[in-house]
Amino acid sequence: MTCELMTPTRRAVLGASGALFAWAFIPRFAHAAGGRDPRFIPIILRGALDGLTAVPPVGDPDYQALRQAIAMTTSGPEAALPLDSFFALHPSMPNFNRLYRAGQAAVVHASATPYRDRSHFDGQDVLESGYEMPGRVESGWLNRMLEGLPKGDKVSPGASEIRGLSVGANAPLVIRGKAPVLGWSPSTLQPVSDDLPPRLMDLYDHTDPLFAKILTEGISTGKIAAGLDVKAKGGPGDPTGMEQMARGAARLLAQDDGPRVAALAFEGWDTHAGEVDRLNKLLVGLDNSFAAFQQELGPAWKDTAILVATEFGRTAQVNGTQGTDHGTGTAAFLAGGAIKGGRVIADWPGLKQAQLRDGRDLAATTDLRAVVKGIAVDLLGASPTLLARDVFPGSDHVLPMKGLIA
């Protein structure tokens, strides 16, 4: 591909009215279940979200001892927001809390994909490709689902079949594939991710004194971001960028003849060190994007389901740098007017040493594929056969989760 400069026009896209877009060529999404005109929005959190911090099981007797300095509590200056008698919500998520109270948001805890190793790339492959093993990177489950859904409005036969929207500089794998999708990226420049400098520093420290020296100089003089502070500068790895992506996607999805599903990916969730500060900021971005979707989707919000998922969880215990390493089970978020919310869905495995997977991770008791399948069947009218055969190959034994859609 070519690297193109963004024009001022593209920068203006978000500020412009919907009339700028000629959506007439895109058909209505027909045959939705229950007479809805549904919207489905998977959001991938790249880097592996710590579900035990995002949705802390404050009622679990072993939680405090396990998490020690980074344990959340429901009292004190940064009190977590109680969801029920057992789970609480990170205080950076007031919008999600509001939706939860309104019955439009839910958490699926102790969930995971079938992947059980600890590589981000492979974990993301499994999460997004829909296959049980990594390495199948040609297409994603959302794209294959689009291909298999009932065809467009019979009133306009032969019209374009574009129903998907890919948001961001790189199309997330989940929406890549044969079914045509629309690409859109906010005009924000693509900054170097905040945790790149610390990662390079770690590498240079071990391998190259000259580069270590100049990187240190760059950081100490402010030419290179230290990486400890998430700054508002746009892109999928900072709060402002997340909200922008959500708002732009929502405006396109809100169009009568616009796409009906959109895939987004937010970055920066790999919290090996200084987890509290990073998540305090990143979760604000995620939370604001829920509000942006609700606001911009307008009447379509009632038929919308957002699914926020990440490639795997993090270790139950805190590591030596006030962070957590790669683990297994984690939390997924559901939000939208179509969600039967106000609850945390979990078959809680417990946090005692013997209950942890490999003695270190929150054990996964819910298969994320069941969640996706449940939404696909009840909101989009997808057939379980299609889901087991094409969307999540080899998943016959994973039944669609019932009752997720209101």
Binding site: T2, E4, M6, L203
Partner: protein, 510 residues
């Protein structure tokens, strides 16, 4: 030094003597890496930049003269029009842009064209400046159009071939040794590429004396170092005794191009050489001296009489006087030493191993500057294959290696912007000594900051399914350290993994 395995030789051949591995990785030459390198020398493989706008210097200069005339008339007409009836400036915005539709699915490379963006403010500013420069004039600025075409032909063409790319690296080396700067004048701006195509590339594997003569008589060099105005004080053209010598080209020929700054010449030698090459100029549009835009010897401006340079006397036989002087400078022992030192510094180490310099210099002298023989002496020495990567890639080399490895073909203005941002504006060194060739110049925190942005830009642009783990092991081969593999493997995203791979010490060094 112990013999390396073929895998190590393959990786070194690509990074140290070539342009970096392409998508085939180091495996492409692993069978016989040193043989493959020698073959590129034997085949005298210098790729030729091609493109419809890549014309001869003469044609380009004639176009420039026409462009300058047209612009002059346009300005005059505009001045007349403004004086007659001042008008409101018309506001005209760019056409509105729609989101891109990806009919063949999101994996197609073109589908992401809309998404690739320069990636931070500084980068954007540098690139923006380049673009602004392009967009400012009402009519396309011809010298910059040509420069962009030349850049396109190289970064999207010649740097991709052949497997190792030793010839292209040498073309870069010699173009920097005989540096011209496009910022000097419109003439240099428009023919800098033609200069490299005409005076450098044909001689990269030939004789140094031939390259030297081609360079010093090329309109680009004559314009860049002011020789086209130099007039013999006692020449016919100076009958009114008002004009005279310009020593610039003569000085740099001695100091930079041949003997070196400590090469044993004096100020008298500089002045003498300046006299010898008076009359070496470029035919202008009127064609009185010859075909417009070509090198001509203007006998009327030539200083008459015999000249003694470095103890040798040259009879005044017109252009032959200078040709003979350059021939002797080319075979001077100081020149052999100077060129050998620069070559070894460029390819092997910032502090060139003296033994290797002597070997290379001796070959230069023995073969009367047969450059192919000189390179064979260089790459035939075990000293040149030390697996420790001590050189830091210059921004130009870094950019080249990035584009080869990623397969990306950014637009030329993006490449120019990136090179400028990283501190090595293309064909635009601050002085005739070209860009420096040592790590202390390129390994700076500003430079690293910009490299991070450029690496991130390319990582954003490549097809998202590329696995950074296989990328590093394929492209770095045995040079890949465990630490780098680990850092790449642990990256949060494929994109970040690639960015780390591009910024790894093994990729930034050679």
């Amino acid at each position: 030094m112990a013999q390396q395995s073929n895998d190590v030789y393959a990786a070194l051949a690509l990074s140290r003597f070539g342009l970096g591995a392409d998508h085939n990785g180091t495996a492409s030459i692993a069978f016989d890496p040193r043989g493959a390198l020698l073959e590129e020398i034997t085949e005298r493989y210098v790729p030729v930049p091609v493109g419809p706008q890549l014309q001869s210097t003469a044609d380009l200069l004639v176009s420039l003269y026409a462009f300058q005339e047209e612009r002059k008339q346009a300005r005059q007409q505009a001045a007349v029009a403004v004086a007659a009836a001042p008008q409101d400036k018309q506001m005209q915005g760019p056409p509105p842009q729609k989101p891109t539709v990806q009919p063949s699915g999101a994996t197609s490379p073109s589908s992401q064209a809309m998404a690739a963006q320069p990636n931070n403010q500084a980068m954007a500013a540098a690139i923006g400046k380049a673009v602004e420069k392009l967009e400012k004039p009402a009519m396309p600025y011809l010298p910059q159009q040509i420069l962009l075409a030349e850049v396109d032909a190289r970064f999207n063409g010649t740097i991709r071939q052949p497997l190792i790319g030793f010839g292209e690296r040498l073309a870069m080396f010699w173009a920097n040794h005989f540096a011209v700067a496009v910022s000097k004048s419109e003439e240099v701006h428009i023919v800098a590429g033609a200069f490299e195509r005409e005076a450098i590339r044909p001689h990269v594997f030939g004789r140094f004396a031939d390259m030297l003569f081609a360079v010093e008589t090329h309109p680009a060099m004559l314009a860049y170092l002011d020789n086209q105005q130099s007039i013999g004080p006692n020449s016919k053209a100076n009958a009114n005794k008002k004009r005279g010598l310009n020593e610039n080209l003569a000085r740099e020929t001695l100091e930079l191009h041949t003997l070196g700054v400590n090469g044993g010449y004096t100020q008298t030698d500089v002045t003498t050489l300046a006299r010898i090459i008076t009359g070496w100029t470029v035919a202008r549009n009127e064609g009185k001296l010859g075909t417009p835009g070509t090198f001509v010897f203007n006998a009327g401006a030539h200083e008459p009489g015999d000249q003694t340079l470095l103890g040798l006397t040259y009879a005044d036989n017109g252009v032959g006087q200078g040709r003979e002087a350059l021939r002797d400078l080319a075979r001077h022992p100081a020149t052999a030493q100077h060129i050998a030192t620069k070559l070894v510094r460029h390819f092997v180490a910032d502090t060139p191993p003296p033994g290797l310099v002597q070997t290379v210099a001796a070959t230069f002298s023995k073969t009367d500057g047969d450059l192919s023989a000189v390179y064979r002496a260089l790459v035939g020495s075990e000293d040149a294959w030390n697996p420790t990567l001590s050189k830091v890639r210059s921004p130009l080399e870094f950019m080249t290696a990035l584009l080869r490895a990623s397969g990306e073909t950014p637009k030329p203005n993006v490449i120019l912007g990136a090179l400028t941002a990283m501190g090595q504006p293309f064909w635009a060194p601050a002085g005739p000594n070209g860009f420096a060739d040592t790590a202390d110049v390129w390994a700076s925190s500003e430079g690293l900051s910009m490299r991070m942005d450029v690496a991130n830009m390319i990582a954003n642009a490549v097809p998202p399914q590329i696995d950074p783990r296989s990328f590093v092991s394929d492209s770095l081969g045995p040079l890949l350290s465990n630490e780098t593999l680990q850092a790449v493997s642990r990256a949060e995203t494929r994109k970040q993994g690639l960015t780390i791979a591009y910024l790894s010490p093994e990729f930034q060094r050679r």
